[in-house]
């Protein structure tokens, strides 16, 4: 328990330190930044470019707009964060499912591994920004009977495209991780593929799978926000980042709010995935480096 407290204190101290570095640079750095030739190496420190940390935090409590019934900025960010969280969660589940199915197929059949693994790796070289409008375009032309294809579904698909990758690779490595001696032991028991999978390969894959799930969670969040930006879907943090960027000169603390929201979203999702690891601790007795 004391260990947890120390960890929490360390985390908080790091945050404070970051804020200190921010303020220190703002105080000492030149107002116009520092450039080598045409290239600016250090950012400007004006109040427009780098508002004080307390102004960023203080702005959260103020109303979103000048309208009389406007919600607070923090409320708006949280609402947008919740919207993005839903999509990120769905894309994580989608990505993990696809990733594990791919890994199972690749482990089961050598030929599938040789055929699919290069494609899996190749898939990550296509930039998300290029892919997003395509997926949105396909989605709008999909007819699924009574179910209408909603734009947010496109976002989930695009984000899951980022999320499945670490799971496919990590799960494959995990499923292939048992020692020869264990595989032969299973063979000596006359165990088939399924029994070997359940008794040996799945438990052995846990130490590889958990870091992969964490990576997938981070990818799902980034993928969701980026896909929201590139498809322009309203309601989430991505669109909010786009919109608030316009206030950079009139309300300089405002654009930072959705960024804080994205950080919070990442922390929440990472925390949820860490919870998955808790009941699986006995499968992690041999820890591997991810």
């Amino acid at each position: 328990m004391t260990r947890r407290l120390v960890d929490a204190a360390t985390g908080l101290a790091t945050l404070v330190l970051l804020a200190l570095v921010w303020e220190l640079y703002k105080w000492l750095g030149p107002a116009d930044g520092w450039s080598i030739g045409e290239i600016r190496v250090l950012p400007r420190t004006s109040d427009l470019a780098m508002p004080h940390t307390w102004e960023i935090l203080g702005r959260l409590a103020d109303p979103l707009t000048a309208a009389p019934d406007a919600p607070s900025l923090a409320g708006a960010v949280l609402a947008a964060g919740a919207f993005s969280f839903g999509i990120a969660l769905l894309s994580w589940v989608l990505g993990v499912t696809v990733g594990i199915l791919l890994a199972l197929g690749m482990q089961r059949l050598r030929v599938v591994e040789s055929a699919v693994l290069p494609l899996v790796i190749l898939s990550q070289t296509i930039p998300l920004i290029a892919l997003a409008p395509l997926v949105r375009g396909w989605g709008s032309r999909l007819y699924l009977g009574p179910v209408e294809w909603e734009p947010w579904m496109s976002v989930a698909v695009i984000a899951s495209y980022l999320a499945f990758f670490p799971v496919a690779v990590g799960a494959l490595r995990g499923l292939q991780s048992p020692d020869t001696i264990h595989v032969e032991l299973m063979r000596s028991y006359g165990a088939g593929w399924w029994a070997t999978l359940v008794r040996l390969r799945l438990p052995a894959s846990v130490p590889h799978l958990l870091p992969a799930l964490r990576l997938a969670a981070a990818n799902a969040v980034v993928g969701t926000v980026v896909a929201e930006v590139s498809t322009g879907i309203p309601g989430g943090l991505g669109r909010m980042i786009l919109e608030f960027a316009n206030f950079a000169s009139s309300d300089p603390a405002k654009p930072w709010a959705p960024l804080l929201g994205a950080v919070l979203l990442g922390l929440v999702v990472a925390g949820l995935v860490a919870l998955i690891g808790l009941p699986l601790s006995r499968f992690r007795r041999v820890e591997v480096s991810a």
């Binding site: 006359g190 846990v206 007795r285």
Partner: protein
Amino acid sequence: MTIQTAPQREEHPRGAVAVEVTGATRVFQGSAGTVTALDGVDLTVGAGEFVSLIGPSGCGKSTLLRLIADLDRPTAGTIEVFGRTAEQARLAHDYGIAFQQAGLLPWRTVRANIELPLAMHGTGRAARRERADHLIELVGLTEFADHYPDQLSGGMQQRVAIARAVAEEPSLLLMDEPFGALDEMTRERLQGELVRICAETRAAVVFVTHSIPEAVFLSDRVVVMSARPGQIREVVDIDLTRAARSDEGLREDAAYFAAVTRVREALHHGSPTPAQGVELR
């Protein structure tokens, strides 16, 4: 999984054949050419008999064991286990096996590791627990039943592996240098335990080892093999009763030393230098 023609274990009278190897040859195709690991090996192991395979590194003793276990297939020749093919015997769970490494599943406790073969073959929970309790007591690990393998010493892990190998009361036990990685004291203690366990289960044993004293102490017969190509050079009968073996004094007995000398001479017969990879202690 079920073999219709499989004869029942109970139908084997003592003295029946556990393992029948006929003309077994195993050739490995490597990038550096072909290696003949085994060349026309014939071997018969009777039910309840303890047979050790000994010889220099590369004499094919482990390969022979793997063929019997159906973890590998012969290039030529046949292998029968209790009158059926090695594959049928494997699928019918005719044998228990132990390797040089304990090979315990790290996420299972001692008890759960021993229960593993029983669980995989559909033994009920209560029967499993009862059998595991008995075996844990047999190998002297009662206090460690709920420990995980990483909390045990190498010797303790190997005991768990042996308990796991005999969990289903197999009539054949295959052991590939199970004490090879242990220190001498632990090794002698576990040898004594193995003799006791074999006396209780009456299983036939095929035991691969590097150690002459170990082979003599444990075996009814010692099969001495030679390398390149792997062949049986000589079979040495050890005329020590099981009762004598359960007595630690045997290790200092004259008959024991005579048998050790005979095996050593068989190993070195015809080779000008001492065979490599054989422990002469």
